[in-house]
């Protein structure tokens, strides 16, 4: 990629049109879109610039892709972050995400209207759909020719081959009467020339999506939006940790302050976009005391109920091979027998051995020879898992702890406790997935209780007293501050989030251009 050589550079003293903090799913599409429309853009990213060829499937070392400044995990269901944590670097969490790319179900935008629970989006699917389609077509998403839950939908790439877990899930679903399909995956399955980037190769079924894709097949932002941003004159500055925001007398933002190579720098800007993710964005706002007249910054922290069920098969399954999570069913987005509101998506699961082993030991209490034997059966294992709605609850939030880290900021504390809805959904999923897996021939069935993803801490809406940003991502309090990442989600929805985050990002860019 020619991102480094051809990149434009701005001086700290230049007052650029826009500074974007964070080069992940939220920050990157917007940076590209603003630059394409002639805005001067500087992206400040805390993490490094990784080379795709340098990624390694070795799990302990691949944790270089994770956010590494310590976070404190609290509450009754504290999340074991590690590999489940957000990422860092040019590309953000998409460097190690799973690339599962479902769209949000139209009903999930208005869960409160439907059930009296949760919090509604200020618009519905029809508003987001044009942006969703633009994202899908620009980054490259594969999927089946006919999507069973949406006849109109088309995908530009054929699905990658089904691996062992995907095949077993097809059988299990058929046996219990659930529809299934190859799921949408942000993975390309033929070589292409990506505009402004260069050659991206077809998926090689290597299975290491969570350790970083080495051939450009996985659609992230490092091989799509970020090179486009650079081509249109944006500057990507890696290794820059933003820790302060400066304002003028009138309260408008005039600059951000960041640490690079241990030295402090100050970049002037006419507008600021925070896209640091659902933990670091509220952390920065709580640290600076800004944009919080609603008192909602850091509140409403949500995850996805991400129950997994694993089993052993009488076959050599080799769960590290192939795109990890191909088969999907959307039949449980509103289960008929649900004793909870909302619903969940089910996907098949392959997994790398350390991640798999960690899920197992953290999720069970087995020890001794039974643990050794269970680990020894890695090659015979396959899993299925869900992503399900998680309601906002007052107990769940991001706050500042009493401990300070090397950046001089207080470490974030994330409190997470399942409420009755999440527990009921977990139990429902544990039963349903176990049935599917038994029907598929699995033995030694093991349920893993876990949550994934992080969202909702600066939610958007129409009412500035209960929301942090308006429906296009602009702060209610500070006119030239925008938020554009997973923190703005009003509700979690059942879908994996990256597609909607990128779609919202294009929409926020459009609003900024119009402002």
């Amino acid at each position: 990629m020619n991102m480094e050589t051809a990149m434009r550079h701005y001086a700290n003293t230049d007052c650029v049109d826009v500074v974007v903090v964070g080069a992940g799913a939220g920050g990157s599409p917007l940076a590209a879109e603003l630059a394409r429309h002639g805005k001067s853009v500087v992206v400040l990213e805390a993490g490094p610039r990784f080379r795709p060829e340098g990624h390694t499937p070795d799990e302990p070392v691949a944790n270089e892709l994770y956010w590494l400044n310590e976070r404190l995990s609290g509450g009754e269901s504290p999340q074991a972050f590690g590999g489940n944590n957000s990422g860092t670097g040019l590309g953000g969490s998409l460097l190690h995400y799973g690339a599962f790319m479902p769209r949000i179900d139209a009903r999930d935008f208005y869960l409160h209207r439907e059930t009296g629970k949760g919090f509604d989006w200020p618009f519905g699917l029809e508003t987001l759909l044009p942006y969703i389609e633009r994202v899908e077509s620009f980054i490259g998403v594969s999927g089946p020719a006919q999507y069973p839950w949406d006849a109109k939908r088309r995908y530009a790439y054929a699905p990658p081959p089904a691996n062992s877990a995907a095949l077993r899930m097809r059988e299990g679903c058929e046996a219990v009467g659930l529809k299934h399909a190859d799921g949408p995956a942000a993975v390309i399955t033929r070589d292409i020339e990506q505009p402004h980037f260069g050659t991206r190769h077809a998926c090689a079924n290597c299975g290491a999506c969570h350790q970083g894709c080495r051939n450009g097949a996985k659609s992230g932002t490092d091989n799509t939006w970020l090179p486009m941003a650079v081509a249109y004159g944006a500057e990507l500055r890696d290794g820059c940790f933003v820790h302060d925001i400066e304002r003028d007398q009138a309260g408008r933002i005039i600059a951000v302050v960041y640490l690079r190579d241990g030295k402090q720098h100050r970049q002037r800007c006419a507008a600021l976009v925070l896209a640091a993710g659902a933990v670091e964005t509220p952390r920065l706002l709580l640290h600076t005391g800004l944009a919080n007249s609603s008192g909602q910054v850091g509140e409403n922290y949500m995850t996805h109920v991400s129950t997994q069920v694993w089993g052993t098969f009488d076959q050599d399954m080799r769960p590290n091979r192939g795109y990890p999570s191909l088969t999907i069913t959307e039949d449980l987005v509103r289960p008929k027998d649900a004793d909870f509101v909302g619903g969940y998506l089910v996907q098949s699961l392959g997994m790398m051995p350390v991640t798999w082993g960690l899920n197992m030991v953290r999720g069970t209490t087995i020890r001794g020879q039974s643990l050794t034997d269970a680990l020894s059966r890695y090659n015979r294992s396959a899993g299925i898992g869900i992503n399900g709605e998680c309601l906002p609850r007052p107990e769940n939030r991001v706050s500042l702890s009493d401990e300070t880290d090397a950046t001089g900021m207080r470490k974030p504390r994330i409190d997470h406790s399942y409420g009755p809805n999440e527990l009921a959904m977990h139990n429902h999923a544990a039963r349903t997935l176990s049935d599917i897996w038994k029907a598929a021939g699995a033995q030694d069935i093991r349920v893993i209780d876990r949550a994934a993803h992080m969202s909702g801490t600066c939610r958007m809406g129409t009412d500035g007293s209960s929301c942090v940003v308006d429906p296009v991502g602009r702060s209610f309090d500070i006119e030239n501050l925008w938020i554009c990442d997973h923190s703005v989600f009003p509700s979690a929805t059942a879908a994996n989030p990256a597609l909607a985050i990128m779609a919202l990002s294009l929409r926020t860019a459009e609003a900024m251009l119009a402002a």
Partner: protein, 211 residues
């Protein structure tokens, strides 16, 4: 007897990138037999040795070539941690020291002897109790029962991570996850369905791993 895995062929595969090979070779270097802990105190390190043996016996996988998991954990405590910890626990190294000393103290109060000297059943019950959050010590530099439940989750995770990431274990269990492709040719996998091992992938030598 379990055959000993031969990792030389495994590590020289052209389906492993040079960076990954260097990482695995480095990890394959044995820990010196007289390893002295750099992070943990000698007493807590002694307990950790015994606890890791109880948690994850290695004989069926590695025969007589067991890994010194306690030493590897001690070394990893010195390095960069993975970006989070439970809010209810003190910083990582303090939590490990306190957790292990809590196990020692519980062994003494419950049975009057050191953890390694208890019977296997006594050790098992003690480990189960702390893992389920049923036992702990409410005192400075020790962990109470709810904290023990959290910390044993870290203990279990670290032990398993050291084990599963070791090339000898991957080789013995027939795991090809490090073989995603070389530098010149990024092969990936041509076969991804059940019962379709490719020639370059290791064959499991451990009975439990085989069909």
């Amino acid at each position: 007897m379990t055959p000993t895995p031969n990792i030389t062929d495994f590590l020289s595969s052209d389906h492993i990138s040079e960076r990954t090979r260097a990482i695995l070779q480095q990890r394959a270097t044995p820990v010196p037999e007289d390893y002295a802990p750099g992070q943990l105190s000698p007493e807590s390190f002694r307990i950790l040795r015994s606890v890791t043996n109880d948690l994850l016996p290695q004989e069926t996988v590695l025969g007589t070539q067991a890994l010194d998991l306690a030493a590897r954990i001690d070394m990893s405590l010195a390095g960069k941690r993975d970006g989070w910890r439970y809010a209810e626990l003190p910083s990582d190294i303090q939590a490990w020291e306190a957790g292990l000393l809590t196990i020692t103290d519980l062994a003494f109060t419950q049975h009057g002897s050191s953890y390694p000297d208890l019977t296997p059943e006594q050790r098992g019950t003690l480990l189960d109790d702390v893992t389920k959050g049923l036992a702990g010590i409410d005192q400075a530099n020790r962990l109470n029962a709810p904290q023990m439940k959290l910390w044993t989750s870290d203990l279990r995770a670290e032990t398993v991570a050291c084990f599963m990431s070791h090339p000898a274990v991957q080789c013995a269990l027939g795991i090809s996850s490090s073989m995603t492709g070389g530098d010149n040719v990024f092969q990936g996998f041509a076969n991804v369905t059940p019962d379709s091992k490719e020639a370059f992938e290791p064959e499991a030598i451990v009975a439990e791993a085989r069909v």
